[in-house]
């Protein structure tokens, strides 16, 4: 006799495009105590991200953009201020908001397929067959179907980041948080991934917060580019980028946007040496 009938969703259900989240960041501040004293990594930062929006945060290193991403992920807690996803406060990490790190952070004891399956195995109410089907779907989406049995160390840098992307997408999060995921890749691989990421964003309808120090990358990917300044970390200016998609990083229109953003970025960042004096 069955004591409880479990609800069970199929792979097709699991693969459905779900509503993306909206994010509300209000008055968030965060201090770090470093070797050279306390650093105000974020100083009263407020930011709203709409459902399904692709937002890029740009700024020099040390401007707190990665800290903000970690706070949205729930990996770090703000000293003050609130962060909400769909009106609910973010209290810790959760698979609604998955992160893609700069380093691939793939698990070397699992093969490619095992890595993509990792987050899916933590999702209840799925059969193993569903999980396999879903993992296969996302590996196909990032173009790595042929490599599902490969070991992580056998992949190139770009392939590793594709696996990371598939792993982050597989549990079907509402928000994708990306922390300079392409910074360590060569230009050609990066360009391919810009195209793929735009295509996947449109197909899967996610809210994406993308951190980068590369202005052209930000202009190429984001609906909105938010410029951060360091010491203390603040969001200073926003740029809407309304070019048609898919965008080409080498297009002239994009370069015009990038130039504007760069100008703003430079005006907010004092030279390092002067700041230290």
């Amino acid at each position: 006799m069955h004591l409880a009938r479990r609800h069970h969703s199929s792979a097709t259900e699991e693969l459905q495009v779900i509503a993306p989240s909206k994010l509300a960041i209000e008055n968030v501040s965060k201090n770090f105590k470093g070797a050279s004293g306390a650093v105000l990594a974020l100083d009263h930062v407020s930011l709203n991200v709409a459902e399904g929006e692709f937002v890029c945060l740009v700024g020099a290193s040390g401007c707190g953009k990665t800290t903000l991403l970690n706070i949205i992920a729930g990996l770090e807690k703000p000293d003050s201020g609130t962060v909400q996803a769909d009106g609910k406060p973010i209290t810790g990490p959760g698979r609604e908001r998955l992160v893609m790190f700069q380093e691939p952070a793939l698990f070397p004891w699992l093969n490619v397929f095992g890595n993509v399956l990792f987050g899916l195995k933590l999702k209840p109410n799925l059969t193993n067959k569903d999980r396999h089907d879903v993992a296969k779907y996302y590996l196909e989406l990032v173009g790595l179907s042929r490599f599902e049995r490969a070991n992580i160390h056998e992949l190139s840098g770009g392939m590793k980041q594709r696996v990371s992307l598939a792993r982050a997408l597989a549990p079907n999060p509402r928000v994708l948080l990306m922390d300079e995921p392409f910074a360590a890749l060569d230009a050609l691989t990066r360009e391919q991934l810009y195209g793929d990421l735009q295509r996947i964003w449109q197909a899967r309808n996610k809210t994406i917060v993308f951190v980068t120090h590369n202005v052209r990358e930000a202009a190429c990917l984001g609906n909105r580019v938010i410029v951060f300044s360091p010491r203390p970390g603040r969001n200073r200016e926003e740029f809407a980028v309304d070019l048609p998609r898919p965008r080409d990083i080498n297009s002239v229109d994009l370069a015009v946007h990038a130039m504007e953003i760069t100008k703003a970025l430079k005006s907010f960042s004092q030279p390092e040496v002067a700041a230290a004096a």
């Binding site: 990490p93 698979r95 998955l98 790190f101 952070a105 004891w109 987050g119």
Partner: protein, 255 residues
């Protein structure tokens, strides 16, 4: 196949050199028996069952003690890595006792447990335990924080985190600790068996010891060969496949 032939040739040459040394009468035949005499002893010991019996007794002591050592060592290592208070206490104790050659436990074990199996098990456990504790602790401490963070965002926590992220990530360290523990346990068991008569059963070490008492050098050398072969088999059957898997997955192999 070529590698096998080459290895076979190498060992054949070794045996021939031995035979030549025997024929040249460099040493008295009492001190250096011929390969043939050793084989004859081994055949005899195999036929009357003494060899099998001694091997079973020794292997049982080793395996039982070894697995108890691992089963105790793994959780202790996790505890020392996870909580400072265990690291400061058990971790320091493990570090200290690991430097103690485990054969040093023999006198104490004999006084505590008498000339019994328990004494032998105790020595083997002491040989295994501390290496496993320290290796597990080091392995856990070396888990890249980003693995934990990535797993956290995917909803892994507590036991799942320990079993599916931290332990697998620490596996290369743990396996090398297990290998070291095996070597320590094997050496200390042999030392104990050679120097102490254990009333509950005659192991390989005791056979070797009686070979010396009887001045039966072919027995001493024969048992030494058996001990070497057991060590080799343990490596080939148990550790090699695990290490091959680790090398393949982590990409650390040169070959």
């Amino acid at each position: 196949m070529k590698r096998f032939l080459l290895a076979a040739l190498f060992f054949a040459v070794l045996v021939l050199l031995w035979e030549a040394a025997y024929r040249a009468k460099l040493w008295s035949p009492v001190l250096l028996p011929s390969p043939g005499q050793v084989v004859k002893y081994l055949e005899g010991a195999a036929a009357d069952g003494t060899l099998a019996k001694a091997t079973v007794i020794t292997m049982r002591r080793l395996l039982v003690g070894y697995f108890i050592g691992i089963i105790l060592g793994l959780p202790l290592g996790l505890l020392t890595a996870r909580w400072k208070v265990f690291g400061d206490t058990i971790g320091t104790l493990a570090l200290g006792l690991q430097t103690l050659p485990s054969v040093c436990w023999v006198p104490l074990a004999l006084l505590w447990f008498g000339q019994t199996e328990a004494a032998m098990l105790f020595v083997v456990i002491m040989g295994t335990l501390w290496s496993v504790v320290i290796a597990t602790e080091t392995g856990v401490r070396n888990v890249p924080p980003i693995y934990r963070r990535a797993a956290l965002t995917m909803g892994s926590k507590r036991l799942h985190m320990w079993f599916k992220v931290i332990l697998p990530s620490a596996l290369p360290f743990i396996v090398s600790g297990m290998k070291q523990g095996w070597a320590f346990a094997w050496r200390s068991l042999m030392a104990a068996e050679i120097f102490v008569t254990i009333l509950t059963g005659f192991g390989l070490g005791q056979l070797l010891h009686y070979g010396r008492e009887l001045s039966a050098m072919e027995q001493v050398i024969g048992i030494m060969i058996v001990i070497v072969v057991i060590g080799l088999l343990a490596d080939k059957i148990f550790f090699s496949p695990i290490e091959k898997f680790l090398h393949r997955r982590w990409g650390t192999s040169q070959a």
